[in-house]
């Protein structure tokens, strides 16, 4: 049991719904209490399109036997197919409250759809209370791929599958498009993309591809491992962020598709001269622009690691802290992050993340929407580049690929051009006012994410009052 001021991830059911709602021909049924309806509202705000989300609530409740009210799982599924005869697969997912009430796994036959075949029912048997949305989305994609992928000859010319972010990820569509554009430069086609925009026939022909490119490992890991074991399709897993990361992916794809190394190099060089501006930005700026600037990055797996690599190696910033909230990927994350920072950590409590970030005394913060406040308090620039974020722009810009590297260059230039604080704040104990023991105790009681601001305010107050130390009273005034 934990006391939190926010959560980074939704429940497992939410991850499955995100996965399903981004596909075509797939409908999701959420077995939940009547009070757990929310997905359509979120979907409307994010997608901002007229297409209602293919998500249905089948309420779990005690109801009179003779009632015609919805709630009976088998009958609700039949009704769903009758209303939407184009449905090819139904994903059934149980909310946490339904799981707690002992809602069984749905194993029922579905009626035929308009093609005369019964849609496949995917039941998410692994669901558990407390599982996060990312892990659940990963497992759900594996389930639905497992249910549909059929052995097939490899495509005649080289193609790959793109496994990218699901619905609601910021800029998801732009990331897929950028990956597709880069592959087309090599003459490599996209056999299928999943999960966003995937149809059931896309899933069926996944095994035709020569390789699987994981541009978002968080939700494509289990599915691509399955394809590797079952059909021998190799995987490319480097984060496609920054010019170096993107180049590494192109070279791996080139190897796996038997392309001439010279062709790949020429394509990459051409891009470096035209669309990939991050290396150019790093060269144009004087070394002093980046010297001693410390960045803190917190978020998911792919973007956090990819940005960490790019900022530390390509730009030359010092990455003082780099963390993720994806606790189930802890080992992998720490392994990769430790190659560019000493401050790698895993925390899914925003306060813990805040104190790790504050302790690294950063000059630039990249994070999720929950970290904005920390940057405000520290008075440093903030880039919300890691999901979850609350923005849902009409025009999407990729962060990945060569185009993404230029977007990153623009963002960094804007963030770092602002006048830096006159002097780096030294440790409060040395040049700042000393704190009384009571005041320090009081400071401990303040939530970590507010501590930075309160500390500054308390010191200002104490100084304004001509006091030579920060007392408990000054602290209380600052809190008020």
């Amino acid at each position: 049991m934990r006391l939190l001021r926010g959560v980074y991830e939704g429940p497992g059911s939410h991850g499955v719904l995100r996965m399903a709602a981004g596909m075509r021909g797939v409908r999701a049924v959420l077995r939940a209490l009547p009070a757990e309806g929310y997905f359509h509202s979120l979907h409307g705000a994010w997608a901002r399109s007229g297409e209602p989300a293919p998500v249905h609530i089948s309420p779990v409740w005690e109801k009179p036997k003779s009632s015609r009210e919805p709630g009976d799982a088998a009958r609700d599924f039949s009704e769903l197919i009758r209303r939407h005869p184009e449905t090819e697969a139904v994903l059934v997912v149980r909310s946490e409250t339904a799981l707690l009430s002992g809602e069984p796994i749905s194993a029922t036959a579905l009626p035929d759809n308009e093609t005369g075949r019964a849609p496949r029912l995917v039941a998410c048997e692994w669901e558990a209370v407390g599982m996060g949305e990312t892990e659940a989305a990963d497992l759900a994609l594996e389930d639905i791929v497992r249910a549909h992928a059929r052995p097939a000859e490899k495509s005649p010319s080289p193609t790959v599958n793109l496994f990218g972010p699901p619905l609601f990820d910021p800029n998801a569509a732009a990331e897929y498009d950028e990956a597709k554009r880069l592959l087309s430069l090599l003459g490599v086609g996209v056999n299928a993309r999943a999960p966003l925009g995937a149809t059931i026939s896309d899933l069926r022909r996944l095994p035709r591809a020569w390789a699987n490119v994981l541009i978002y490992r968080e939700t494509g890991d289990a599915a691509t491992l399955f394809l590797q074991d079952e059909f021998g399709t190799p995987r490319v897993t480097t984060p496609m962020i920054g010019a170096a990361g993107t180049g590494a992916i192109l070279r791996s794809v080139g190897d796996l598709c038997g392309l001439d190394a010279q062709t790949v190099r020429r394509a990459a060089w051409n891009e470096l001269g035209t669309t990939a501006k991050l290396p150019w930005y790093a060269r144009l700026q004087t070394p002093e622009t980046f010297r001693g600037i410390r960045a803190a990055i917190f978020g998911d797996f792919t973007r956090t690691l990819g940005l960490g690599y790019a900022l530390s190696r390509e730009v030359g910033l010092e990455v003082g802290a780099c963390g993720t909230y994806l606790t189930h990927l802890e080992r992998d994350f720490l392994f990769h992050a430790s190659t560019f920072t000493d401050g790698a950590f895993v925390a899914d409590d925003p306060e813990e993340a805040a104190s790790r970030i504050e302790d690294s005394r950063p000059d630039l913060l990249i994070g999720t929407h929950l970290e904005g406040e920390i940057a405000d308090n520290l008075g440093i620039p903030f880039l919300p580049l890691c999901p979850p974020v609350l923005d849902h722009p009409f025009v999407q810009r990729p962060i990945m690929g060569y185009r993404g590297s230029s977007v990153l260059a623009d963002l960094l230039e804007d963030a770092l051009r602002r006048p830096r604080r006159e002097q780096r704040e030294a440790e409060p104990s040395s040049t700042e006012l000393p704190w009384t023991k009571e005041a320090l105790e009081g400071l401990e009681e303040i939530p970590a994410f507010l501590r930075g601001r309160t500390r500054r305010l308390a010191e200002e107050r104490a100084r304004a009052a001509g006091s030579r130390e920060v007392t408990r009273e000054a602290l209380e005034e600052a809190r008020a």
Partner: protein, 453 residues
């Protein structure tokens, strides 16, 4: 369940569609509760789901601010498969309150999932209250167990019920109880009015207004005072602390401002207060009937007919802009019936009023005064509604956020129930604001349609 059929006494058609209506989870209101109630810390206890919904949903609502600084919302996320020891939740509540200065009450939002995980929320709240020496009350976000449908305002109803529980009991001597009860409006109401009116007010039956929005009570109090009713205070989300709540008990008359406050009303009745069951003070005639019935309940009957006629006359030009417009209410908050009643009176054509559930006892006055040509659909089906709206092409649809974007994309003019509530729908002034909002909606659509794109 209700069979399709006719309500007693009128020609009104009430149809039960037995569908799954589009209703936003009541947890969306947790953050609003924490920002409106100035001295309260709101703690949502349950699974990851509850925390996620309470945190994320406010951000998708129209006009919603992004994560506000210094939020007074906290989450207790329980671990699966581990029954918490008694008192553990209380310890977390105490910890949370210690971290937020000037907390004068705590609301523990705990529903079905916390119960299933073995938390006795009432016990934990009592324990925390004893140790913190501030009121700690449980707010169940879920609808009452006997009602199968959920309204997006259920949390609001239950939070108001918790505030009613925090109210002082009235003593047998009303004079003793009365002077201590400050008026709403805090400072001004308290300083200006108290001493002068004390003697006069003390002799009258105190009336307590019950409704979430502090502004609504502020709008209605002067109207009631004008009719000779003494408003002793209001239970709303504007009270800074439990001490500022009015006394409720034997001899108090409670006047609910909204029809969906069933639990809060029941709580007041249990304390012996008399709850006035009348039209909600929404729209001109609704406000007039409300004032008349409240004044009758305290024994000083007043007639509002003349005043209502004046107000209607003042709304003439606005009515002209709404007259004949066809309105469709999808239904998610429980406010649909009074709103539909008012718009029908104002000359609009109400095509359908959806409502996830129909509490016939509480809504009897509303049902009676609704025009006979209005269809009420209970448990409307989301998809069925989209089809009917496409077929009928109403001039404006009033719906929840889940239908808003799909309907706008299909070319329908929409306003959400939340937007209507934000402008303040209560009282005579609220009636004007409702019409103004609709007129604005039509005007803007016309000017956008006139663009040559």
């Amino acid at each position: 369940m209700d069979k399709p059929g006719r309500a007693s006494g009128g020609l009104l058609t009430i149809l039960n569609e037995s569908g799954v209506p589009d209703v936003l989870s009541p947890l969306h209101a947790a953050r609003e509760l924490s920002t409106l109630l100035p001295g309260a810390l709101v703690i949502v206890a349950g699974t990851r789901t509850e925390a996620y919904l309470a945190q994320t949903l406010p951000a998708v609502l129209p006009g919603a601010p992004t994560t506000p600084r210094d939020s007074r919302l906290r989450f207790i996320v329980l671990d699966a498969g581990e029954t918490p020891e008694q008192g553990q939740v209380a310890s977390r509540v105490i910890e949370a309150c210690a971290g937020v200065p000037k907390t004068r009450m705590a609301l523990l939002v705990a529903g079905r999932s916390a119960e299933l995980m073995g938390v006795d929320a009432d016990f934990e709240a009592r324990l925390a209250a004893r140790r913190l020496e501030i009121p700690v009350k449980v707010v169940d976000p879920d609808p009452a167990p006997d009602s199968h449908a959920c309204l997006s305002t259920d949390l609001e109803d239950h939070a108001l019920a918790a505030l009613v529980e925090m109210c002082r009991e009235t003593t047998s001597d009303l004079v003793a109880a009365n002077p201590a009860s400050p008026k709403r409006g805090g400072l001004l109401g308290g300083f200006l009015g108290r001493n002068r009116d004390e003697d006069r007010e003390a002799k009258r039956t105190p009336v307590v207004l019950l409704g979430a929005s502090p502004d609504s009570a502020e709008d209605l109090s002067p109207e009631l005072e004008r009719a000779g009713v003494a408003v002793s205070g209001s239970v709303s989300f504007g009270v800074p602390a439990a001490e500022d709540l009015p006394a409720i008990g034997e001899g108090t008359v409670v006047a609910p401002l909204d029809p969906h406050l069933a639990t809060a009303c029941r709580t007041a009745e249990k304390r012996g207060a008399k709850v006035v069951r009348t039209l909600a003070p929404i729209g001109v005639d609704g406000t007039a009937r409300f004032i008349q019935d409240v004044s009758a309940a305290v024994g000083t009957p007043a007639s509002e007919i003349a005043h209502a006629r004046e107000v209607w006359a003042g709304l003439d030009s606005l009515r002209n802009r709404v007259r004949g417009k066809r309105v469709f209410f999808a239904g998610d908050t429980g406010l649909e019936l009074p709103l539909a009643r008012f718009l029908a009176d104002a000359g609009a054509v109400v095509l359908e009023v959806g409502t996830p559930r129909l509490d016939r006892r509480a809504l009897a006055p509303e049902l009676h005064s609704l025009g006979s040509d209005v269809d009420v659909v209970v448990s409307p089906d989301r998809e069925g509604q989209i089809r009917r709206i496409d077929a009928a092409r109403p001039d404006v649809v009033v719906c929840g956020p889940g239908l808003y974007v799909p309907l706008v994309a299909r070319g329908h003019l929409c306003r959400t129930t939340l937007e209507l509530r934000q402008v303040g729908v209560h009282g005579y002034a609220g009636a004007r604001r409702i019409l103004e909002l609709l007129a604005r909606t039509f005007e803007r659509a016309e000017s956008l349609d006139a663009l040559d794109l």
